[in-house]
């Protein structure tokens, strides 16, 4: 295209002449420091930011969890009020799922997928930046509810008329992460102001609009990744040569684009109920609150696999590397992942066994749920097959991945127990369920993601995390986790209910609750230590070779940190595990004759995704302000919509731009001597 050929290739973007976009604005291509991070379209920097935000919110959610466990340590405790307790468990669940696990997975998608498929960027770099900033906007909207709650408790609003006329003053969401109607909805008839009486305060409105914005971010990112994986593979990188992590990214993204619309519509309907007096879930006008449960779980169950499949992908990369063997049964692992994703859409009602679905639907959903155990079990056996006969190196990522298999299996066993509907009727809403999904989500997903962090951190920053601290942290996490959640199996079967802020003495729950709290604090210390080690590594860690683990996939063939153009010359792939084969086998990686003096096309940086994301932030804060009755709050929403629209319009009109970057002229990246790790 004409707009990039008139630039001479440069060795660094700092040498570029200032260039105007089609709108006449100077493009931020040459920016450094903060402006560079805010305008970047580089998938690696976006990935790092996703990771940083995710780790931050993991700590926020962790503090909420510790407050919950402190409250439950003793019977009849009053560490927090009942209302604060509800807000804590709601925000804990929402934060961990949408602001912790999903963005941390997205961090890996961003950083790794283009590297693993031999591409120089994602298909839509600016859309990728838009996903990041929209996610940040949604996260801020959700957590700003804490700020309002704090203001309420501190009496900041006492002199305002809108505050005096509020019926409910809970400013942070308190309905659980699924916000079941009718509690989250309305009752009775709408008044002249088109508002029906509600059961809860504006916390629920923060939750609704926050989740809606996070959904936009996830959808945009997923469209982008499917496009990237299908369309931007290097020559010879057929679908069945894709690294398993990339495969699981593809399946996860497909799940996201097909599952999120259900919650989007459900949230729209709930918003109409609360803000405009509609009757979707209003029982006193004939609305069916049960419909909310259906729509939520049509999204919610695939969401469970959206959380776990990326972790499974990570483990499928870590185990072969540290076993010195290729993954056992690659096609079966990929196929099982796809089957898990597909079946994930057919089991939503197993979350609703106790709602009285009728005998036939209950039996059908129970059978389909049991069927999911099959592909999951197949994966476990394939991982064990990968370990069998391997030269196993117990590095920190490997320890965490082995922990994943073990803990995830425990969670899977209690999951199969739930799938039997009669047994589930006993376990519903008890601590047994808490134990089950924390074994899957924490023992499974979090250990998998931590394993990924320790595995790829040397690639991301070119620095090696401190190993002794990593081992200690892993040990603390696995020990604390089992101490915290193991006893909950017993507590649940002994009758302790979920979502209840305290319990009386004499039920026989005291000891194990106390143990669980001790475990939770050990777990918290472990995770904090593990994260602190990583942050320290990013800045001060010991420099390491580009391939410290003797890796098998393409990303390890690149220098660390990875240059902004990724591949000086595009690779040509001849086999699965291409880099391992390149090092030790017959089939070498070929390189195309691109790059060099002629340069590589780099996309221009842009402010517009950030502007559009800021518009979402204004909409997100404005909607709950309307619900609070703050005067002129509608203008905040209208301005937010305008800013968002303006951002997208200018983004379209500024033109993609781009510049040419020279790459080192050597025909291929210098081969790295395999330095079998320092452990």
């Amino acid at each position: 295209m004409s707009h990039d050929t008139h630039h001479a290739p440069v060795a660094s973007k700092l040498e570029l002449a200032p260039e105007r976009s089609d709108l006449g604005l100077i493009r931020p291509d040459r920016s450094t420091g903060w402006a560079d991070w805010l305008t970047t379209v580089d998938h690696k920097k976006i990935g790092i930011m996703y990771g940083a935000f995710a780790m931050l919110f993991f700590l926020v959610g962790g503090v909420e969890a510790l407050a919950i466990r402190t409250q439950l340590a003793r019977p009849d405790n009053d560490f927090v009020t009942a209302r604060m307790y509800n807000q804590l468990f709601t925000m804990h669940g929402t934060t961990m799922i949408f602001l912790g696990v999903m963005p941390l997975s997205a961090a890996f998608f961003n950083f790794l997928v283009p590297l693993q498929i031999g591409a120089r960027d994602v298909a839509f770099p600016r859309l990728n930046a838009f996903s990041l900033w929209t996610f940040v906007a949604g996260a801020l909207v959700l957590n700003s509810s804490w700020l309002f709650e704090f203001g309420h408790l501190s009496g900041w609003f006492n002199n305002f008329d809108w505050y005096k006329s509020l019926v409910y003053t809970d400013f942070a969401p308190a309905n659980g992460w699924f916000s079941y109607a009718p509690l989250s909805g309305t009752f009775g008839q709408a008044n002249a102001a088109l508002q029906a009486p509600r059961f809860t305060g504006v916390g629920t409105d923060f939750w609704i609009i926050g989740l809606q914005i996070l959904g936009v971010a996830s959808l945009a990112a997923s469209f982008n990744f499917i496009c990237t994986i299908i369309n931007m593979r290097a020559k010879g990188m057929t679908m069945m040569r894709l690294p398993v992590f990339t495969w699981m990214t593809l399946v996860t993204s497909i799940l996201i684009i097909l599952a999120f619309p259900a919650i989007t519509v459900a949230l729209i309907e709930l918003m109409f109920d609360r803000q405009f007096g509609a009757n979707f879930f209003n029982p006193s006008a004939g609305g069916q609150p049960i419909l909310w449960q259906h729509l939520f779980w049509i999204f919610g169950h695939p969401e469970v696999y959206i959380l776990v499949l990326p972790a499974m992908g990570i483990v499928s990369e870590v185990l072969p590397t540290f076993s010195g063997k290729s993954l056992f049964g690659y096609p079966i692992i990929v196929f099982s992942g796809a089957v898990i994703g597909f079946l994930g859409f057919a089991v939503w009602s197993h979350h609703m066994f106790t709602t009285g679905l009728g005998a036939v639907p209950t039996a059908a959903f129970a059978l389909l749920t049991m069927a999911i155990a099959v592909p999951t079990g197949v994966k476990i056996f394939n991982w064990l097959g990968t370990l069998w006969g391997g030269r196993i190196r117990f590095t920190p990522p490997m320890v965490l991945s082995l922990g994943f298999i073990w803990m995830f299996m425990c969670g899977g066993f209690s999951g199969v127990m739930h799938s039997a509907a009669p047994a589930d009727a006993q376990q519903q809403d008890s601590y047994f369920v808490i134990a089950h999904f924390h074994y899957v989500l924490l023992g499974g997903v979090l250990l998998g993601l931590m394993s990924g962090l320790y595995f790829w951190f040397p690639k991301i920053f070119g620095r090696m995390p401190n190993a002794p601290i990593a081992y200690i942290a892993s040990g603390l996490v696995i020990l604390g986790f089992n101490l915290a959640f193991g006893p909950m199996h017993y507590l649940g079967l002994a009758g302790q209910p979920r979502r209840t802020h305290t319990y009386h003495e004499g039920n026989g729950w005291e000891t194990w609750n106390y143990v669980a709290t001790i475990g939770a604090f050990i777990l918290g210390i472990g995770i904090f230590l593990a994260f602190a080690n990583l942050v320290w590594t990013a800045f001060k860690g010991k420099k390491c070779s580009p391939d410290p683990w003797d890796g098998r996939t393409l990303e390890w063939s690149l220098p660390s940190p990875v240059p902004e153009y990724n591949f000086a010359r595009s690779p040509i792939i001849a086999t699965r595990d291409a880099y391992n084969e390149d090092k030790y086998g017959e089939k070498k990686i070929g390189y195309e004759n691109d790059g060099g003096e002629a340069g590589i096309h780099m996309p221009s940086q842009s402010w517009m995704p950030l502007v559009a994301g800021f518009g979402f932030l204004m909409i997100g804060i404005g909607m709950p302000l309307i619900a609070m009755g703050v005067p002129h709050a509608g203008w905040v929403v209208i301005s937010g919509l305008s800013v968002m629209f303006l951002g997208i319009l200018l983004w379209a009109l500024e033109g993609p731009g781009g510049y040419m970057l020279k790459t080192p002229t050597s025909s291929s990246p210098a081969p790295v001597t395999a330095n079998t790790s320092s452990y």
Binding site: L258, H294, G358
Partner: protein
């Protein structure tokens, strides 16, 4: 993907498609007309409903195949759309059948 070389073929192809589009537009209008007449015919309801479903399915697929070029385009695009549509159809058929009338408070039938 060398566009210059295929430009001429593309134009000939477009002229051929042009006629398909006109024919299709006439058919779509005609089918809609038939549908409107059909609902007032004194025939068994289940027959009419079946015919209506078939007719709107025909219109639906005609638009996605010709107007949206799926018949000319890469087959992957067809399967992507069918995946979304099929999943939506299956999920919401299941959802509709899960809502049984005999479980609803009859007060609302008044």
């Amino acid at each position: 993907m060398s566009h210059a070389a295929t430009d001429h073929n593309l134009v000939t192809e477009e002229i051929r498609r042009y006629h398909h589009f006109i024919t299709l537009a006439l058919w779509l209008a005609a089918i809609t007309g038939v549908e409107i007449v059909l609902i007032f015919l004194p025939v068994s309801l289940s027959i009419i409903l079946t015919v209506l479903c078939v007719l709107s399915a025909i219109k639906f697929f005609a638009v996605i195949l010709w107007f949206m070029h799926l018949i000319y385009d890469h087959r992957l695009l067809f399967w992507i759309f069918i995946a979304g549509m099929g999943l939506a159809f299956a999920t919401f058929t299941a959802l509709l059948s899960l809502f049984a009338v005999d479980r609803i408070d009859t007060k609302w039938f008044s």
